[in-house]
Amino acid sequence: MTQPLERTAPTPAPRRLRPSGYTVARAGDVSFLLHRRACAVAVLLAVVLAVTVVASLCVGESYVSPTEVVRVLLGQPSPDELVVGTLRLPRLVTGLLVGAAFGVSGALIQTVARNSLASPDVIGVTHGAGAATVTAMTFGITSYSVLPYVSVAGGLSAAVFVYVFAWRGGLHATRFVLVGIGVSIALGSLTRLFLTKGDYLVAQQAKVWLTGSLNGRGYDQAAPLALVVAVLVPALLWAAHAQRMVCLDDSTATALGVRLGPVRLGLTGLGVVLASVATGAAGPVDFVALLAPQIAHRLTRTAQIPLLSSALTGASIVLVADLLARRLFSPVELPVGVLTAAVGAPYLMWLIARNRRRR
């Protein structure tokens, strides 16, 4: 969406050289090209997200009026402080971060694979994180200070495994996806195996976690996720820039002197870490990483998949799905992953049927 420009660049007739649809923003020595439509979409998505946030804080076992919710959010005294601030807000923050992380992760991996079908769910990352976490749980590691690292390790090793076995004189997207699906199935079985081996209560807990649920999630789960996201912000700024290079086809990039290998590896690594941490916090919330970048990309119509809009869309999807999951069959609460899969899987099928892949 934004791209730093050298000020020394020759600009004899700036108005005409500017690509259509862009505006130049200047701040002191630096100037940026802003894609007008992308900015408008990001603002719009932020508004949608804000409305979703307020709505999910309002609705629940008891209804709280939006004005009270806003008062609590602004830190003013309110009779609904307990319900909104203590009960609903931690869950909301977790959902927000999880959705944003999945959205960005999907955007990065889809950019590198140049294939809208490649999402962390499909290539085995979330299943790897899931299998590692369930295994750790059955061996008695239930501390929330350790589990996120376990799930990152699991997600990364699954990704490396898939990468290594799909490599055959080059990385072919098709082979990558097929190996990923196979590995996902095997990891799913492994997870079920450890579910049957573990203590009954742990198994129950792990089973709910595996469907991807925000039930009972709070700051304990959100804290490591927030930490990772905060640490990764500089890396993400780099990623937004690097994305443009990866969009070039291989021969053009080589001719321009861009070393695609390390850039791709970096972007993939970022995506895998984000998806794994998010999985560690809420379990594999299926298809958010597939859906969010696609929707954002269709809205902005930019050349590359927009990161910020993907994050906003991902967060909105998870919050809306969680709201529905809480209220649809109330008092029974569905795991949020059930709803995202029920929407995301048909969307994936539609993508396959249309077969409009960017190669």
Binding site: L117, D121, V122, F165, A166, R168, G169, G170, H172, T174, R175, V177, L178, V179, I181, G182, V183, S184, I185, A186, G188, S189, L190, R192, L193, T196, K197, T211, D286, F287, F329, V332, L334, P335, G337, V338, L339, A341, A342, G344, A345, P346, L348, M349, I352, A353, R354, N355
Partner: protein
């Protein structure tokens, strides 16, 4: 007798011996090791000791069910790969097994059906629906049903059905209780009655496939050639899909979803006896049960005294196979 025929007969004999060995292992090994002599004694002369009781009451039903499931899945795999001309077609990967599972859940939760003979019909309906949708999705658009599109459509199918199943069992505790024992894909702990109730369906599926074998050979040459040879292509595909659906439905109704057997066995058989479907089907029918039984025995032994469900074992054993298959040039043209 030509060299090729001798080789085929040779491998079929080897397959028969392997199956025999697998049956013997399945009867003899477990949390209680029983010497083969006592197994034969129990089966043939009606021995009366504890060991004979274990063999007759527990291990014989389990082995029979294992043979049925392996047979059904392997033959269904051959037929699916034949009618789609796609090396990666398989009940588990295409989501057909999950479709059958959804049928069973609906039968338990909404129709109040609790016997395998009753819910096998629901399994058929679910399997058929899932197969049609997955194939229609993969087949539309540019390029037809390539392996990756088929696998992705199947993965999407699996995810969707899993979420629907999860929604049903989360809101219906009684269904969950009945379903979770069946969902793991195991051939242990099933009643011998299950086999008695479902074998006619298996037989119908197998007979249908036997009739279609020559047609599958023609389909392998391409639709145009098959039509030129006088085969009704659309009818062949339809009947083949029906047979595969019935076989998958039987296997799933009996044992729950089991992946990868239908993928690996046909490829092994084809590598051994060539492309002629009659031989491939015969050898797959021998190797499928052997694979299921050996996986089941391994599952009983590795974590003894507790057991690993056979579906977990086949998935773990099957992945290296899938990876090898995908790395071949023929599957994914670079």
């Amino acid at each position: 007798m030509s060299h090729a025929t001798r080789r085929r007969i040779g491998w079929t004999v080897v397959g028969t011996l392997l199956l025999f060995l697998a049956v013997l292992l399945s009867l003899a090994l477990g949390s209680r090791q029983i010497p083969p002599a006592q197994v034969f004694d129990a089966l043939l002369h009606g021995g009366t000791g504890d060991n004979a009781q274990v063999v007759r009451a527990l291990r014989v039903p389990r082995t029979v069910i294992g043979v049925m499931v392996g047979l059904a899945l392997a033959v269904a795999g051959v037929v699916m790969q034949g009618i789609t001309r796609n090396p990666i077609a398989e009940p588990g990967i295409l989501g057909v097994s999950q479709g059958a599972a959804l049928g069973v859940v609906c039968a338990i939760a909404f129709a109040g059906v609790h016997t395998p003979a009753g819910y096998v019909w629901f399994a058929f309906a679910g399997a058929g629906l899932a197969a049609v949708v997955a194939y229609a999705v993969a087949g539309s658009g540019r390029g037809g049903a390539s392996p990756v599109k088929l696998a992705l459509a199947g993965a999407a199918m699996n995810a969707f059905i899993a979420s629907v199943v999860s929604a049903i069992v989360t809101t219906d505790a009684r269904a969950l209780d009945e379903f979770r024992f069946w969902d793991v894909g195991s051939i242990g702990g099933r009643d011998g009655e299950v086999a008695a109730q479902t074998w006619p369906f298996l037989l119908v599926g197998l007979l249908l496939v036997a009739v279609l074998a020559r047609g599958l050979d023609a389909l392998a040459l391409g639709d145009d050639v098959a039509r030129g040879l006088g085969h009704p292509v659309a009818l062949l595909r339809g009947l083949g899909a029906l047979a595969a659906t019935v076989l998958t439905g039987v296997a799933v109704a009996v044992a729950g979803p089991i992946a990868f057997t239908g993928l690996a066995v046909p490829h092994i058989a084809r590598a051994l006896v060539g492309a002629d479907h009659r031989w491939v089907l015969a050898l797959s029918a021998l190797l499928g049960p052997a694979v299921i039984l050996v996986s089941d025995v391994l599952g009983r032994v590795v974590f003894a005294p507790s057991e690993v469900p056979v579906a977990v074992m086949t998935a773990l054993l099957g992945v290296p196979f899938l990876v090898a298959l995908v790395r071949r040039k023929a599957t994914v043209p670079a």
